[in-house]
Symmetry: C3
Subunit: 207 residues, 3 copies
């Protein structure tokens, strides 16, 4: 698979699962069909939108073809008709969000490297792409975004992006590295929830 | 009128009415004169800002000339001195917001077509331009944005953008189509409020 | 010092102090070490990110080198270990925020002038750069942004940006003007808090 195709499929899958997470949150908040579509699209496309605007990759990928929009809307339709089946999975929003997090961390870091960014900024673009959609999704329903509420979230995205940047430095095969990074990030995120990992807080009392 | 002039006037009028909607919300929230100016500018310019950043049309139109800023500040001054007169109209924020929604849906879709986007993405750019200012305006005062609370909102913007995209496909006269699209979107939005149109929710219980 | 170096140091210092303000807010909200890092980075980089995306200066400065990211993370580490010492200063978040406000107002206006913008839009870019980081920081913890809650905030940024634009028009030495603008903006902001300056509200009752 060419690097362009890898990036395309990572992005498209991430778009679909983030779309599911947005649509599921909309159903939980009792929004109507349009609210479901808006939240699915916002969750699915915001991360890539910020990534492309920051890199100067315009018109942004989310709008250069209809594919991403259709993937997000397809997620909204799936949730509209099958939210009870999806809800029966354990913590569906969290798991879908974790998968999207991994996929977008990897696609963001990949694209940043292709635009010639240094390793550290490339990893941050990965994190930004991964957390961007969830931040917009949560802010739209006035919740504190997951990235601030949860222990291991930005860190999981950083891990996925780091795998891609390191593999690129070592000239590993990009598609395989991308899949490895995405799986690692999603796994760490999901495990951290089930095992209740805690991150340290600043020592001492606070006013 | 040339297409450039049409776009300019649609944008400028949309900027002014969205500026009024932001300033009226600021008065209702008892903000001071600077809060009124900030909310007017944020409501008036955010939609076009996101549109232009996503298309790569930089420096963004809102900053390439002083015209849009002055239109937004002019709206803030009008509201500062005449908010009681404006308030006497029925639901002034909703009506102003509906007009801005129609105008920006149309200008966003128009500009996206000029940047060579496909029909579906062009319609989404229209919706993004139309709802962007209201989303930023509502988030700044930590309200759930109208686009998620209201039944027919993104749909009205989609209708306006769709008229423009269809008319372009059929090679209709652009200025006339733009005005028709803007009026249709604003009317549908306003009627939906007065007639209490409801959109369907996902079937079944939710946890 | 060359204009590029002036801009670089203004931006880097602003990034660090805004990073401190974000990290201090995270500690006050009892967030863990990753929350501190995320809020520091968001507060430090969002203003410049929006500025560069709006000007079309991509890849954005915050990601074109690692310097700004490291400055923001350095601020997060400082706060993690020394938040009690920083807290002992009077109103540390406010003072740090005021310094960042002045520095970014000046750097934003400077960069906008270099991109050929007119005086009024250049001042607005300064204000946007200055308030952007604080808006994102406050929204992420679902607070109404300081720019809307506080009497003299956008106005102080406008003053700093105005000094730079005026000095450019009069062909004054840029580095000196930039420092003067930044100090003026920060001082006006800090004084307004200590002296309790009030801005007028729209006359008459509101519904």
């Amino acid at each position: 698979m060419t690097p362009e195709m890898t990036l395309y499929w990572l992005d498209l899958t991430g778009t679909f699962v983030f779309g599911l997470s947005g649509a599921m949150l909309a159903v939980r908040r009792d929004l109507d069909i349009f609210g479901i579509a808006v939240l699915a699209v916002a969750a699915a496309l915001s991360g890539g939108l910020v990534r492309d605007m920051a890199l100067g990759a315009t018109p942004v990928a989310a709008l250069a073809t209809s594919d991403y929009l259709l993937a997000a809307l397809c997620a909204a339709v799936c949730v509209f008709f099958a939210h009870r089946q999806i809800e029966r999975l354990a913590k569906p929003v969290m798991v879908l969000d974790a998968l999207g997090l991994g996929l977008f961390a990897v696609s963001g870091a990949r694209k940043a490297l292709e635009y010639g960014l240094d390793p550290i900024p490339a990893m941050v673009v990965g994190v930004l792409t991964a957390v961007g959609g969830g931040v917009v999704r949560d802010l739209l329903v006035t919740e504190v975004p997951r990235v601030l509420r949860e222990e291991v979230y930005a860190l999981a995205a950083l891990l996925g992006a780091g795998v891609v940047v390191l593999a690129d430095h070592l000239a590993f095969e990009p598609t395989l590295s991308a899949v490895a990074g995405a799986v690692a990030a999603a796994l760490v995120r999901i495990l951290s929830v089930y095992l209740g990992w805690q991150a340290p807080k600043a020592p001492g009392p606070r006013s």
